[in-house]
Symmetry: C2
Subunit: 154 residues, 2 copies
């Protein structure tokens, strides 16, 4: 069935792009789960916090970075807190911080090399350097648009 | 923390690409859920079956198309069967088919126009025609690699 509102050409472009992104994230997550017991979402939170000053960030800010709604963010951080990967701490009178724990830091340090190898195998090494740069540039354009749409909806 | 095994340049390219794909699929799914009560996975199954001859496909084939493992495929189809969107039917002596039901067909017909609009808003219209073609071509290259890796692992 042709989707209304998209030409055949646009629909084909969308489908190959969407299939790729679904399969890529599935394979990356399967590898992370098998090698380190982490989901893509776990890895994202740990990576962001491990690079933040003092390993901490406002929860609100973390949610914006990841693009998650409040309830998804809450459930994600609750699971990670229970597993000891992060902690939530009150920060001043207004906000809550998420803080990476020593266990969380150890988890991402242990997971990173094998994860990077898998990213290389499934993504980086499949492309020429020029294709990689083009893909990243176009991804940046799409990402900017998504973030603008998020802001407009705030 | 720099990931071992990737240069700074490669890591940046991966991160913007991964952030984009995570956020894009999240936004597309939120829209599908809100407008039609469907997940990305539901929509994929309905789209694939609605275009297959007689609206049916071997379950094994469907799993390969979607790139899902057996257990994920099983849970997905069980949920959709309970909701009446698809049915599972024995086909000959060997295999099982997934078949789209009239309810499933009605669901995707109802969802498609608004979904296409959202795809246009968040993806197609953000890119020049040349960027769209490049992005789709590179996505195809990555997808081919993922499928080859799947075959090699079979």
């Amino acid at each position: 069935m042709a989707q209304q509102g998209l030409s055949e050409h646009e629909l084909r472009a969308w489908r190959v792009s969407f299939e790729m992104l679904e399969l890529l994230r599935t394979r990356i997550e399967q590898h992370l789960q098998a090698s380190a017991g982490l989901s893509n979402a776990d890895y994202t939170v740990l990576a962001v916090l491990s690079e933040a000053p003092e390993g901490r960030m406002r929860i609100y800010e973390l949610g914006r970075t990841a693009g998650w709604e409040k309830s998804r963010l809450h459930h994600q951080l609750t699971r990670m807190t229970k597993r000891g990967l992060i902690a939530r701490e009150r920060c001043g009178s207004r906000g809550m911080d998420a803080v990476i724990t020593p266990e969380g830091l150890a988890a991402i340090k242990a997971a990173a090399p094998s994860h990077a190898q898998e990213v290389r195998r499934l993504f980086i090494d499949r492309l020429t350097p020029e294709e990689l740069d083009r893909f990243a540039a176009i991804s940046g354009t799409i990402l900017d648009g998504l973030r603008q749409a998020d802001k407009a909806a705030d």
